[in-house]
Symmetry: C2
Subunit: 335 residues, 2 copies
DNA sequence: ACAGATTTAGACAACGCTGACATTTGTGTT
DNA sequence: AACACAAATGTCAGCGTTGTCTAAATCTGT
């Protein structure tokens, strides 16, 4: 249990009989080291189990680290994780590592968490904005840290952003329902992600307006109350005197709820969800899908581009969505 | 676009008219600073948008950082990210952040990835071992970095570990099938996670042996070939002349495949999966479940304990599993 | 064989912070 | 008013690395 201390450049240098700068050159792959010395240094390093200290290196280099932060609201949503996976992959290609931080969906903690990350001198900041004001990041951005806003645009901050084709995707879904005769279409969503839900709602209304349906309030379930489960929202739609013949969900939580309620319903109700999910194919659930990992990859790429060219213009990228027909969205309205 | 440089302790000190040590005391919350000076320092810091440099701090403090690494094989498996969520939560309570690194399920890259993390002086290392030898971590462990092996024990390394009750959980599942008369029970699994699958297979065989069934090879599908999808494995069982009346799956991938094939089968085949999954309740799929987040939380806690008391004994913790009856596991064998 | 170019190696300081220690200022006691 | 003692503040060096600069060793071509 001897807790010896860690070997440093100097220790290796002493053992190899060279200067610490030479050891540094070997490990920084800076060249100009003869094959012989190089070999000796490596042997000594291995003997001492030497690992270069990245803290010191980053400090010396002016605070440039190899880590990029991804700030997330809530880790338990599989959506975020796929995004994270995409980010991680893209970063790994450039030898960067990802640190993951969560704000527990609390707007207050966002700035605290981000502050802590800045203290760690992350190279870039990717975040899913929760708070309704990201202006606190303006200074950081000016200092050259790329900030990329994921899934929703940042507020009061000029930053790159990657979002989905929310409005269009949802409009397409609803259009596919109106095309086969549906007019009474319910919309359920949980609005924790305000921006995306608002956009999707707009797409829903837009598509209905195209076929002359303007009064949609009665079919919209956007309860703020987290206690109102998607299941209840769906049920409340079915309980309406003039109940919908089709339902669309604004996100995967809604889909899961809808699936539970709608399965084995006597006169079947058509359904299309936003966000694909595991087994949706087996269940025959039509969804508006998109490449979640690509969302992450694109975000990472934007950050990396900005790192490479700090003067680059800010970009807003939209990830395309596509409607996948699996049956539940093709159910005809009862005659 | 002025890329000014970042403010340092010294800058703040100058503006506030105090020494940099005083500023340091304010930010390190080290006390012994009068309310007045404290206030002035904070004002100056805010004006300069000062953020303490954690790199320098960690370096000065002897390489003690606030980050804990979690090394994962493949981010896309929902299992891993629930574990990660648990870890993140537990760490956040102690003000630590999690860095996530993946090895792409490649044994070769494991050591490289871990090396890089050590260079970053992570405070502790949690990993899901992929390579079949973790002895390369021995030095690190001796240097005082807690190493916790998650989901499988480490090999050739004395480290804490948290695993599931694999054998018992699977044995219980199979016993519940034999109890209602099943004798011909198929086992499918993809062996990317060798250890867990071996254990679960052992549990399966054990339970069958208890009722006198010893020859099980024909019903085991453990193909190494990643091209053989779980769907095909299930199908091949059904195609047997003496086909099983029940099937158990060694992991969630297998369950997903089984669900696809088994749904709407004429004489229904009983099924129990290992690992719970979204909508399993709606689909009526019986599973061996456990608290995935707890797995992560426990791992993090082990690491933190070791950090608090470096001399603590290594522990092997088993997370309990429980069989959830939802219908698919209660299907009786055809008479 | 020799000047000049090039490659290899080392000395030194500094990145931003804090621990150890020194010094100043404030408070309470008699 | 003089003293002991605690609180507030400052000085300085060094954590492990690398950029800059300089010196020595080695390689060119004629």
């Amino acid at each position: 249990m001897t807790t010896q201390s860690r070997a440093t450049l100097a220790d290796v240098a002493r053992l190899a009989g060279v200067s610490s700068k030479t050891v540094s050159r070997v490990f920084a792959e800076a060249g100009n080291v003869s094959a012989d010395t190089r070999e000796q240094v490596l042997v000594a390093a291995k003997r001492l189990r030497f690992r270069p200290n990245n803290l010191a290196r980053s400090l010396r280099r002016g605070g440039v680290t190899n880590t990029v932060a991804f700030v997330i609201g809530d880790l338990t949503n599989p959506f975020y994780f796929h995004v994270a996976a995409g980010i991680e992959r893209e970063l790994a290609l450039r030898g960067l590592t990802m640190v993951l931080a969560t704000t527990d969906d609390s707007p207050d903690s966002e700035e605290r968490v981000v502050d802590a990350l800045i203290s760690q001198r992350v190279r870039a900041l990717l975040l899913i904005p929760i708070a309704d004001d990201q202006s606190y990041l303006e200074g950081e951005r000016q200092l050259g840290t790329p900030v990329v806003s994921v899934d929703r645009p940042a507020r009061n901050l000029l930053a790159d952003s990657v979002v989905l084709q929310n409005r269009l995707g949802m409009a397409e879904a609803v259009r596919s329902l109106t095309a086969i005769g549906h007019r009474k279409i319910g919309f359920i969503s949980n609005p924790s992600a305000m921006y995306t839900q608002r956009e999707r709602l707009a797409g829903y209304r837009e598509a209905l307006r195209e076929v002359g349906v303007v009064e949609t309030a009665q079919w919209e379930r956007l309860d703020d109350d987290p206690d109102i489960s998607p299941e209840l929202a769906v049920q409340s739609l079915l309980d309406l005197p003039d109940s919908p013949t089709a339902i669309v969900a604004g996100n995967n939580r809604g889909s899961a709820g809808a699936v539970r309620v709608l399965r084995n319903l006597k006169p079947p109700v058509a359904f299309i969800g936003f966000d694909d999910f595991e087994l949706a194919d087996a269940l025959g659930i039509s969804v508006v899908a998109y490449d979640t990992m690509e969302l992450g990859r694109t975000a990472a790429r934007l950050a990396l581009d900005h790192l490479a060219d700090p003067g680059a213009f800010t970009q807003q990228i939209e990830i395309p969505t596509r409607l996948i027909h699996r049956g539940s969205g093709e159910i005809l309205p009862p005659r």
